[in-house]
Amino acid sequence: MEAITTSRRNFLRLVGLGVPAAAALAACSGSTPSQTGAGGGSGGGAKGAATYWFLTGQPQQGIREDTVNRFNAANPKTKIATTEFQNDAYKQKIKTAIGAGKAPTLIWGWGGGGLKSYVDAGQVVDLSGWFGQHGDIKNRIFPSAFGAATVDGKIYAMPCETVTPIVLYWNKKVFDSMGAQPPQSWGDILDLVPKFNAKGIAPFSLGGQSRWTNMMWLEFLYDRIGGAEVFQNVFDGQKNAWSQPASIQALTECQKLVKANGFVKGFSSITADSNADQALLYTGKAAMMLHGAWTYGSMKSDGGDFVTGGHLGYMNFPPVDGGKGDPSDTVGNPGQYLSISSKASAAEQEIAKKFLSTTLLDDTEIQKWIASGNVPVVKGTRSKLAAVSDKTDAAWLTFVYDTSSKAGNFAQSWDQALPPTAAETLLDNIAKLFQLSISPQQFADNMNKVIGT
């Protein structure tokens, strides 16, 4: 008897507690309109309101929001609502959202293997036909950017935003103080290493804790030694592709550099996202750095007069003597990619397509990207880049444009190109390779096991 009365009382008590809690929550949910354009940006819930998720961080976030605002101003009845997330959080969030059928209409992403996993799950719309109809849009964009947007011969995403190849930076002041010349080949690099070490300067800065930073080295070595086909074979799922002679050679050369103390001491503890690796370069503690073009902006703002005073040197990765690769090849991010969710309603998809064809990458946006020190992924901007008022920036921007547009092959970062399962294994093994805890052969064996997964 006791039990029944107490449990009823418990229930009432719970309800009693619930009421004030619910009131508090209701007050909180009557929210102020979000800062991002259409009111009530609550994801895939609102009917007929297209949604768009992307990453935080300036200046990219501001430019994206600005583009959406202009679209909304021109299309007041069919607005797009945006939400932004931090990088790692976004990667998790987008997966759970897609998996639960709550994906945003416009899915921002890196293309490649990630895009393929969306395609395999039937979650993104095939845009090949749409691009066929809008040939003018397709032709505006760098052709090399479409590689990462294509799966099984069909296009599933529109390249957008900027193109950021990986660049070999060097500190002119440090080189001048040593009377050294920037390396013209891999052999030069190996020769320079002991010279800098003798002076207590790290030859190369490296944020090894982030792992993908190490990967950039392998990407170039593979290409320069064996050409773009080496990795292409891996990507195509060729059996034991990692054991190709060029592959083993590249891995060995890489470890040679590590063993020669080519990288700053303790590089496995340095993180890239805190910009500590860039700081090593601009404070003169390191002579050179292999990094993405996006670091130009942060080095410019954080490095004092390093960039503005013209002390930053840059070049494409030098060739390897005896290597088969085309020295004009480059690697990096050929663009960012926008896909349309196939689970969005027809109306929402139409809004998204209109966005892609009208406002995305229009002239205003292009101008903003240039002003922020980036090269947009559209053709024909070279003159605008050269016309930028700051001469140092103009030189940089035209360099990036030339490198990207003239590249024989523009390979996408491996961890984006490969399917997620293989990408994880790759990064793990790369970390071990750089710590010299596995041999090139073991690396190849481990990676061969996950080919095609």
């Binding site: 609550s42 932004e84 639960a100 890239a272 996202d273 942060s298």
Partner: protein
């Protein structure tokens, strides 16, 4: 252990004896504990000092100066950035979630612990206790997807309630464990005497067990509150709109695609910690009062 012994030192002791009393007091001081505490103080303070100092630095000066040197050109820019970026809202959300989870969770866990301990070997309650024990080890990261699906089905997605409900559930096993131990310590005779006076189980719960287990209740509340306050995964998965974000997610504003604005992140950390710290400093007396009110013997 310093003193819980109140030996009155005789004021009229002869000088010779006084010397000895002083020496004895010196020897009575807890050297080991004291040393440990001071060492720990250094260990705790150094990173905290770094956090505060860096929050006043500009991002560009961040790497060029010694990390421990005070900023040559201290700036409030980081703090301004934080306050302008919706920080008060995130703080409020975190408070609502923390209170909304801790209060119900501790209360219902307390009721359950009471039932289990006083259950007189009922098989049902024994089973419940075992179930909670197993619940201690359920990893949040694994169950988060099914929880996500349940929340969507309940139509609660993207609300603070979505964070609160699973948090309550996850707080229960631990709270029940700790609270049962303490409820067990309440002398049976006290219950007997209250029963003789005609009190019901419910009455005994609130009038006897509740006051006597206060130390445990406080401890469990603090633990659960802090866990939820710093919780990241549930808010990430179960909410979406910026206005439902809690503080850990609020840090995102300063984390870009490629890099982190460290000074700004730290300014945000300082701002989110200060109010709670002040609360704690003030409420500490209450806390300790509660902790020692356990068993007046």
């Amino acid at each position: 252990m310093a003193t819980t012994v109140h030996t009155p030192s005789p004021v009229t002791a002869a000088p010779h004896q006084k010397e000895h009393a002083g020496l004895r007091r010196l020897l009575r001081l807890n050297w080991l504990g004291g040393a440990a505490s001071w060492l720990w103080l250094a260990v705790v303070v150094v990173p905290l000092y770094w956090i505060v100092v860096t929050s006043f630095k500009e991002q560009s000066a961040y790497f060029t100066n010694n990390p421990f040197a005070p900023p040559t050109a201290p700036t409030l820019d980081n703090y301004k950035l934080v306050v302008e970026s919706d920080f008060p809202r995130y703080f409020l959300n975190s408070m609502v979630v923390a209170l909304g989870t801790t209060v119900p969770a501790v209360l219902i866990a307390f009721m359950a612990s009471y039932a289990i301990v006083r259950g007189n070997g009922s098989r049902f309650l024994g089973g419940v206790s075992g179930l909670f024990l197993m619940g201690l080890a359920i990893p949040l990261q694994a169950t988060v997807i099914p929880v996500y699906l349940i929340i969507i089905r309940m139509g609660l997605y993207d609300s603070l309630l979505a964070i609160i409900l699973p948090s309550i559930a996850f707080a229960i096993p631990l709270s029940v464990l700790v609270l049962s131990n303490f409820v067990r310590d309440v002398p049976k005779e006290l219950f007997e005497s209250m029963r003789v006076d005609g009190a019901s189980e419910w009455g005994m719960l609130w009038r006897l067990a509740f006051p006597l287990t206060r130390p445990a209740l406080v401890t469990v509340s603090i633990f659960n509150g802090l866990t939820v306050w710093n919780g990241f995964l549930l808010p990430l998965i179960l909410t979406q709109s910026p206005d439902k974000r809690t503080l850990p997610l609020g840090l995102w504003t300063f984390q870009g695609q490629y890099s982190v604005n460290v000074p700004a992140v730290l300014a945000s950390v300082v701002l989110s910690t200060l109010p709670i710290l002040v609360l704690y400093a003030i409420g500490r007396r209450q806390l300790l009062g509660g902790l020692t009110a356990g068993f007046s013997k």
